[in-house]
Amino acid sequence: MFYRESGQFKSTYAEDSQIFPIRQDRWVVGGIVAFAFLGIPLLAQFGWVSNYAFTAILTPFLIFALAALGLNILTGYAGQLSLGTAAFMAVGAFASYNFMLRIEGMPILVAFVLGGLCAAAVGIVFGLPSLRIRGFYLAAATLATQFFIVWCLTKVGWFTNYSSSGVITAQKIEMFGYAFDSSMSKYLFVLGIVSVMALLAKNMVRTNIGRSWMAIRDMDMAAEVIGFRPMRTKLMAFAVSSFYCGVAGALFAYAYLGTVEPEGFNLDLSFRILFMVIIGGLGSILGSFLGSAFIVLLPIVLNVAMQSLEGAGLPLPSGIGSSIELMAFGALIIFFLIVEPHGLARLWQIGKEKLRLWPFPH
């Protein structure tokens, strides 16, 4: 009834190749972005959005969404399964830290970009095996990235500025003389970066780069035969993906945690981001955001549920909470894979299809 594209004619190429060709989509997306930039800070002014919501939900949601976006480019669009996401995030975080530390007056955004570029360089090196191997072999080989890089960052003191415990404290975020130190300003800072990078990613996957990735993913031999260069395409995917993960890692250190150690970027984090991509939907930009929201919210919801259980007179033995959380996490992942292997993004699409016909489906 409301969601229909009849009467929306496209008379120019520019109109035809818009990101959201349907007017209602544009309104909704525009509304969400405007709400994120203006509505949430406004609500915070009235005290409707607490500090906790910014630091524990909104900021990590955006940062993980960016990391998931990076992994989605590699796994969802280019078809190269990777278990080393956290390592690329670590490279981004520690490289940015060192650029800020060692170069006087380094602007923070430039440091983030340079950090991302370092991650991209590492990504290219560890992406080289993908030219020879594929599938599970590649997945297991990417574990080498994960363990080797975390070991390097732990053992080589220069990276952590010879901090005895290996913990670094990220510098303050400052731009044009304005210090981003409140939780809301950090949120807005992250939001700005994530929106720009998501827009870039969306455009990348719609143009020839993204199409060459998808061609390689769907059948690399065939793609090679019709003229895509597998080496360039695969390494490009590794580089772009690592760049995104690197920037996400830098934000993780600077805007979310403040102090990080190499061990913080462990295999567990890699898996969490992989789950975001799977649950959100492989090969979907929107899916990265949905998956991130799901994985960030799940532990919080489980916690609340467990507390209310205890309140209802069912006390659980101490220490069992985290185990139950693990179980619920695993069970939900299996459940999702069985019910909708294409992720939340696919559910969203099905919903839109239904809405188009509503209320007269025949």
Binding site: L128, I320, I324, G330, A331, I338
Partner: protein, 306 residues
Amino acid sequence: MQFFIEVLIAGLLSGVMYSLVALGYVLIYKASGVFNFAQGAMVFFAALTAVGLHDLGLSLWVAVPLTMVAMIVLGLVTEKFVLRPLVAQPEITLFMATIGLTFFVEGLAQAIWGASVRGLELGIADVPLEWLMEVSGMAISQFDLIAAGIAAALVAGLALFFSRTKVGRALRAVADDHQAALSVGIPLQHIWGVVWAVAGFVALVSGLLWGARNGVQFALTFVALKALPVLILGGFTSVPGAIVGGLIIGASEKLAEVFLPPLLQQLFDTQMNLGGIEGWFPYVLALLFLLVRPEGLFGEKIIRRI
């Protein structure tokens, strides 16, 4: 030189234990094409259950068979509730599902038995063999030798099971071609149940050995991760590959741990502490090896068609 041999032998013996874990992966991959990431969690679950029952006052002779029953139940439940609904999905989806299973099983084990470290006493002392010490002056652990013996016996038993029994032949048939096996009347679901049960048994044996060695704790799952480079080296589909790969990984990681740091320190002229190389060396070795031989030592040659 003597020190070198000592390190080498210790490495080879621990490599046998890696092969044991890797064997569980190979069994399931061969028979159902599922790369079962949860094998490590199963090792952990088996070890924790056996120790938990033992700590309740049961003797090991009762606790271990009971654990075996639990592992079979776990395998059958997995087959029914995780794999059966996902039949005919792409391999990657199945792989993800087993990662989910990993979390579930790890959580389940800790929810039942708690997260504390438990010791496991199998009655084999972890002391150097005395007569060997006297003859050659080398310290080789008695425990490692016995563990290697158990692993060898297990592998021999499995080889016999696969080649001599009816179920074993059916398993190999399913591994070769699901549809052909179905068409000659092999019950696929039943066979998968058997495979998961056997993998559970292998997990139990490796869990007991590793648990006795390092204590039964969450870190066991990381040991199981080490089986992945073993698999890459040996090839996902080969039982001999798992053995040889395990030996190579075990020996090379111990040698690297002992002899690489001084070399690196000389090379970069630093006094840094470079311990912990064995944490990543197997993965990097496997990665480099793959560049030369993408299908592993004994894996099936990868043939790709358009």
